[in-house]
Symmetry: C2
Subunit: 310 residues, 2 copies
């Protein structure tokens, strides 16, 4: 295990009064009130929240043209004092701007980039640049009375303040037991696969890989996972964490395997700990993960945990 030797820059955790920037680098924001509610809530929690100029722009599928979204993201990356960039939503579009962004000012003023799903593009990019980032709910996830999202948003707030999580995960009979430490990295499966072979493909060597997915056929999930396997992602990694696989589509004939069986049919030969049912992804309960941060992953027969050490 060499992952202890890899260090990723950890942006400063937030204090009362610190500034969070909301940007929309991907899909069109169809529920602007959710963004306003997110701003209001985080302001009530003591932060200053600034919504980027282009967040409510509309350009067909996207929250503004590529140029508008890129300019807003560049403004956020360059911001000299803000401590976090919170992506309004995912959808699709981050890959259309990521290669045109300049991270040189960001490197001088690192800040937390927060989001999931399509925002995996930025998590990958930041990982390769050597920065930690946060896989967590986004402003679009705000709904009243939000009983479920509330827990996840509170958790995001804890992480932003530097109170790092130690999650207990319910048992799944398909889990492969083991105890391993390593840098955690990952995100949405479709995006992880789409990055393979490009500048935003990362190494999983000695790392713990997290994967979630939404709205795909099982045969498509199988194909995506096999691309990761054929790239060596599972052979080299220290462990695997599976989050939500939400709204998997049905096709005929039946695929004949559960998500757990698909995953294990590909990874069990590598003899790594495998943890299913981590509560992160496209369900209401979406508990934050700090990518680029070391975790201790313990998968037992009766109890499992994911602990972020300070």
């Amino acid at each position: 295990m060499n992952s202890q030797n890899i260090t990723f820059t950890q942006p400063s955790f937030l204090q009362q009064g610190d500034t969070i920037l909301i940007v929309a680098p991907a899909g069109i924001v169809k529920q602007p009130t959710a963004i306003e509610k997110a701003k209001e809530t985080f302001e009530n929690w003591g932060y200053t929240v600034i919504i980027g100029d282009a967040v409510f722009n509309e350009h067909y599928h996207f929250a503004g043209t590529d140029a508008q979204r890129k300019n807003d993201m560049q403004w956020a990356l360059d911001h000299p004092t803000a401590k976090a960039i919170w992506c309004a939503r995912g959808g699709y579009g981050s890959v259309r701007i990521v290669d045109d962004l300049d991270f040189s000012k960001f490197a001088k003023h690192p800040k937390w980039v927060v989001g999931y799903s399509d925002i995996t593009v930025f998590h990958n990019k930041l990982h390769n640049l050597g920065f930690q980032s946060i896989h967590a709910p986004m402003p679009i996830n705000f709904k009243e009375p939000w009983p479920a999202i509330d827990e996840s948003m509170q958790q995001l707030n804890y992480i932003l303040k530097g109170d790092l999580p130690n999650y207990s995960i319910p048992s799944n009979p398909y889990n492969q037991t083991g105890k391993v430490s390593g840098i955690v990295v990952g995100g949405n499966l479709t995006i992880l696969e789409n990055m393979i072979g490009t500048s935003t493909c990362f190494s999983t060597k000695d790392k713990i890989l997290f994967i979630e997915e939404i709205g795909e056929y099982k045969y498509h999930i199988d194909r995506l996972l096999r691309a990761l396997e054929r790239k060596g992602y599972f052979k080299d990694c220290a462990g695997l964490i599976l989050g939500d696989f939400t709204d998997t589509k049905q096709n005929y004939p039946e695929f004949g395997q559960s998500i757990e069986e698909i995953v294990l049919s590909i990874v069990e030969k590598y003899n790594i700990p495998v943890l299913f049912d981590f509560p992160a992804g496209h369900e209401d309960k979406n508990m934050g993960l700090i990518f680029g941060h070391e975790i201790l992953m313990t998968v037992g027969n009766n109890s499992s945990s994911v602990k972020f050490s300070n």
Copy 2:
């Protein structure tokens, strides 16, 4: 242009009495009568046709278990006298067996591998091994009275006999004009993207890339094409041919671009000839292409052609 210096082994063209093997390396064959009809037609055209043992097997999504499909494909690859391996259908499944196949006997007795869609996995593999292969209709495409498929099957027969095509393509106002020669390679977009960064990813340098797709959202097509771009597929290639984009799914909001506009927004900066509406892919008219073979691609304002030289 260096592609003239690359040579791909050309299997022997077929003569009366030569043997064609039908195998099913991917999806379950739901219309066995189509396979029988294909066999009968090609027998009437003077060939011997042998259907592999596992073609009508059923294992959920697949035409038999991975082991059954692999064994059948291995039997076909190893066959000492057959001149062609004709894949019964696509669907999904080729990537699950391709890495476990042994091509050493095939290399001693090269034969044409014929198919499209999921069979792109084998086209890519064979391209990297240095063999030509044929992108053309499959046995599953047989339908009576098959007025459209008939032309494509006749064309496949011409190619198998070594009568190489010179196609005239109707004009599309989005075409980018130019005249270029190069080795043609490609296939299904989803599969091409899925191979990136793995052992079945190929170089497009100085080659002419052919792409077709079925049943995807435009934002997904955009994402797949951007993976190819970010891998350098368009920067290095000599030209681009777009086949059918069949049954593109609608989503809301509208993507805001036609397929032609999506493609050109990504490739126009590379200043290569781009030819739309080549009749190959998932429509009834699916005219054969010999991957790994040199073509002369001429895209004019009023007329365009794709010529395979002997």
